[in-house]
């Protein structure tokens, strides 16, 4: 078991030289050619800038702003979506009744809500959280509905044969069976939330990592821009890897492999 | 008995060059010896069946003939030539028809795949594919996708695709193993006829002893771990065979007994 887990990591190791080599080539080429650009920075400069950002605490501040907005947004939008989604999954009639309204509102791209929330809340963490909540509501609603609908019909039949009352059918059979897929939905939703947060910050909202990236770019400090970009990639990767590991830990034994 | 000998009598000279010849084959896969010291040959036009317990390397033998695998030691010859790789002369019917058909092509399209590979002119393909589907009893089903067909129908498509190659050697890897009993019997009779009409040499792998005796001119029984040849049985039952009559003949029952005893003993 442990061997199969370690092996792919070890085998992939040489391939990790590719991004490193690309960085080295960039560094070397830029040093050799002496290019000075407002849009490019040597990897070594980016590393220095990153250390500086860690040193003066700016990276922590910016990250806290973005993560704060993500947390509030997912808590509000995700919870609402989850509750309505589970309800729709349990009651097909409710799902059918809401279908037209859902189909009309869902296609609105979350970024279109940015100006509206600016109008209502002004700039700041509140408007960003509201946009994230809107963006997270739909995937959570649809995925948790599908999670409940996807519960093995035989399980429901078993619960009926056992003579469980409706309430216990839901709490003891339907919800536990849907749980892994609901968690997977949460994982996807968190990924979307991070993207929407950064996008909102880039488009309009002067807080968080997104704003740090675009303001560094506009004020001609490419090394800071790339440092934040690098950090954002790490953050996104950590988020996904952490959630996959958590999924495995929570449901691995009972439900099998986590979908990636 | 006489029928069998008469069938081979005219080609006695050709028997000098077997259609398939395994010579002292040894095959290691993943550090494990799968087949060891295996030698036998199949005459042109012969219908040879291979039986044996799982893990005796039955499927491996077919792969060696296709050239998808090479032996660790020993040689495989096909129609007198050393096997270097796949050839249009050799077609193989896989057991898992669900995986061996292109799901995005219709029945006719799947048969046409072989025609395309053979370089059949574009204009002739449709008619040829239709004729081949007709031959395997699928007339009028040409525009169905595999997902729309039953297992038996899908396996017929695979057989038609193999026939499209006009192979001189037809390999079959437990082709009817996943089918229900009635479909299996129908397909057994059809494949016997199709092989006889085409004059191809057949190497048929199965775990079903009755099926091996019913179809084969000879049955090769293998033993497992590592795979070795354990016994060869000549099936002297007259052709054409039929599901009821043949299976009730004393000779059939005797061969069945012999094979069954053998399988019991090697386990």
């Amino acid at each position: 078991m442990s061997r199969t887990r370690i092996d792919p990591v070890l085998r992939a190791l040489p391939a990790w030289l590719v991004p490193l080599a690309m960085l080295a080539v960039t560094e070397f080429a830029m040093r050799a050619s002496g290019i000075e650009s407002d849009g490019l920075a040597r990897p070594s400069e980016v590393a220095t800038a990153l250390l500086g950002l860690i040193g003066n605490g700016e990276i922590v501040l910016r990250t806290a702003e973005t993560i704060g907005a993500v947390t509030i947004g997912v808590a509000v939008g995700g919870t609402l979506g989850l509750l309505l989604g589970v309800w729709m999954g349990l009651s097909p009639t409710a799902a059918r009744l809401a279908s037209l309204t859902v189909e009309l509102v869902r296609p609105i791209p979350p970024v279109a809500i940015i100006p509206l929330m600016m109008l209502i809340y002004g700039l700041g963490i509140k408007m960003e959280a509201a946009i994230i909540a809107f963006a997270c509501f739909w995937p959570m609603l649809l995925l948790s509905r599908d999670a409940v609908l996807g519960v093995e019909p035989q399980l429901i039949e078993v619960s009926r044969m056992l003579g469980l009352p409706r309430r216990q059918q839901i709490t003891k059979i339907a919800l536990p069976a849907a749980l892994p897929r609901i968690f997977a939905a949460l994982r996807l939703t968190l990924g979307i939330a991070l993207i929407v947060a950064v996008t909102t910050e880039i488009a309009a909202n002067p807080i968080g990592i997104g704003y740090a990236i675009i303001s560094a770019g506009l004020s001609l400090r490419p090394e800071v821009m790339y440092a934040f970009l690098f950090w954002l990639a790490i953050l996104g990767w950590l988020l996904n890897t952490g959630l996959v590991a958590m999924h495995q830990h929570l449901f691995g034994a009972a439900y099998g492999e986590a979908p990636r | 008995m006489n029928q069998m000998t008469s069938r081979f009598a005219p080609s006695a000279a050709a028997c000098a060059v077997p259609a398939i010849a395994f010579d002292k084959i040894r095959l290691d896969l993943g550090g494990k010896c799968v087949v060891d010291d295996l030698s036998f040959s199949v005459a042109p036009g012969e219908f040879a069946c291979v039986v044996g317990p799982s893990g005796c390397g039955k499927t491996t033998l077919l792969r060696l003939v296709t050239g998808l695998l090479s032996p660790t030691r020993g040689t495989v010859h096909r129609l007198g030539a050393f096997v270097g790789g796949p050839s249009p002369d050799v077609a193989i019917v896989f057991q898992d028809y669900g995986r061996a058909l292109l799901p995005w092509r219709t029945a006719a399209g799947n048969v046409a795949l072989a025609l395309e590979a053979m370089g059949t002119p574009r204009l002739e393909r449709a008619a040829r594919a239709a004729a081949l589907l007709d031959k395997v009893g699928l007339a009028g089903h040409g525009d169905k996708y595999p997902a729309q067909m039953s297992g038996g129908m899908q396996q017929r498509v695979q057989i038609a695709r193999c026939l499209a190659q006009e192979p001189r050697i037809l390999l079959m890897d437990e082709p009817f193993g996943a089918l229900d009993a009635l479909t299996r019997q129908a397909l057994q009779d059809e494949i016997a006829m199709l092989v006889r009409d085409s004059g191809a040499t057949a190497l048929f792998v199965t775990h079903d002893l009755d099926e091996a005796i019913y179809l084969g001119d000879r049955v090769f029984a293998l033993q497992a771990n590592p795979g070795r040849l354990a016994q060869v049985i000549d099936v002297a039952l007259p052709r054409p065979r039929d599901q009821l009559g043949t299976r009730e003949q004393p000779e059939f029952l005797r061969l069945r007994h012999v094979l069954f005893d053998h399988v019991q003993n090697t386990h």
């Binding site: 391939a15 590719v18 100006p115 001609l220 490419p222 | 296709t66 796949p86 995005w104 997902a147």
Partner: protein
């Protein structure tokens, strides 16, 4: 319950929502600056489309989105096919792709602006480049996940590498490609709108943010409704594409 009854109920619910919207806004419960009445919104939308330049703005946004999407799809499929068919390329490139994947496409906008400055081709290039990822990764998966048995079929039939890519790889990857193209189109719409917002290039994105800044809320709502329509049209288009291109998945006995 009856099918028709449910459908009627679904329409009724939407009407109730619209009615509630009309009620809370017309009675002054919500200030019209935050939320104009639906009637005012649709009148404004109609006037903007027939007399104003709303139609032209929508077209300019859609043009950018579609061009970017086509470029991204083409690039993603070609590149994905090359990587997907070669296990060696897959091995060497997957960590790099894995590193780049979590970056939101919109972060390309600041990079593009810093590198190339503000001009229309830059925006189109960023849309295409940002939207390539959702196509590229599923395409790689689609080309590399060909059933091993089918690889053997191709070998026994002695099918060459190009024919294998076209007859086995492409159809096998097509469902993944279409799913990727769906995500890619959504990404294109998002990057287009955000790009227009930042660079103030003509389009719905710049229009709605200007409307919000000058507190013209009916214009803002009209723009949001239009973007919703574009989003819905995208979904419908991809649905048709899916049925048209992968008939074997929708065909049933």
């Amino acid at each position: 319950m009856n099918n028709w009854l449910l459908r009627a109920g679904s329409i009724l619910l939407t009407s109730v929502v619209l009615l509630l919207w009309q009620l809370v806004t017309a009675t002054g419960l919500v200030r019209p600056i935050f939320m104009p009445t639906p009637a005012a919104t649709f009148v404004d939308l109609w006037r903007g489309l027939t007399q104003g330049d709303l139609l032209a703005l929508t077209m300019s946004t859609m043009q950018r989105m579609i061009f970017g999407w086509l470029l991204a799809s083409l690039g993603g499929v070609l590149l994905g096919a090359l990587i997907g068919l070669s296990s060696r390329a897959r091995y060497w490139l997957s960590p790099t792709l894995e590193l780049l994947r979590p970056l939101p496409a919109s972060t390309l906008l600041p990079v593009g602006i810093a590198l190339f400055g503000l001009h229309p081709q830059m925006l189109l290039g960023i849309i295409a480049f940002g939207a390539i990822w959702p196509v590229l990764l599923p395409t790689i998966h689609g080309f590399s996940s060909i059933e091993p048995r089918l690889r053997e079929v191709a070998k026994t039939l002695r099918i060459g590498p190009l024919a294998f890519a076209l007859k086995f790889g492409l159809p096998n990857a097509l469902p993944d490609i279409i799913a990727g193209m769906r995500l890619s189109l959504t990404a294109c719409l998002i990057i287009t709108v955000v790009g227009e917002m930042i660079t103030a290039q003509q389009g719905l994105g710049s229009t709605i943010i200007m409307a919000a800044r000058s507190f013209r809320s009916t214009d803002l709502y009209a723009g949001i409704v239009l973007l919703g329509v574009v989003g819905a049209a995208n979904n419908a288009l991809l649905g048709l594409l899916e049925i048209g291109l992968t008939p074997w998945r929708t065909a049933r006995t």
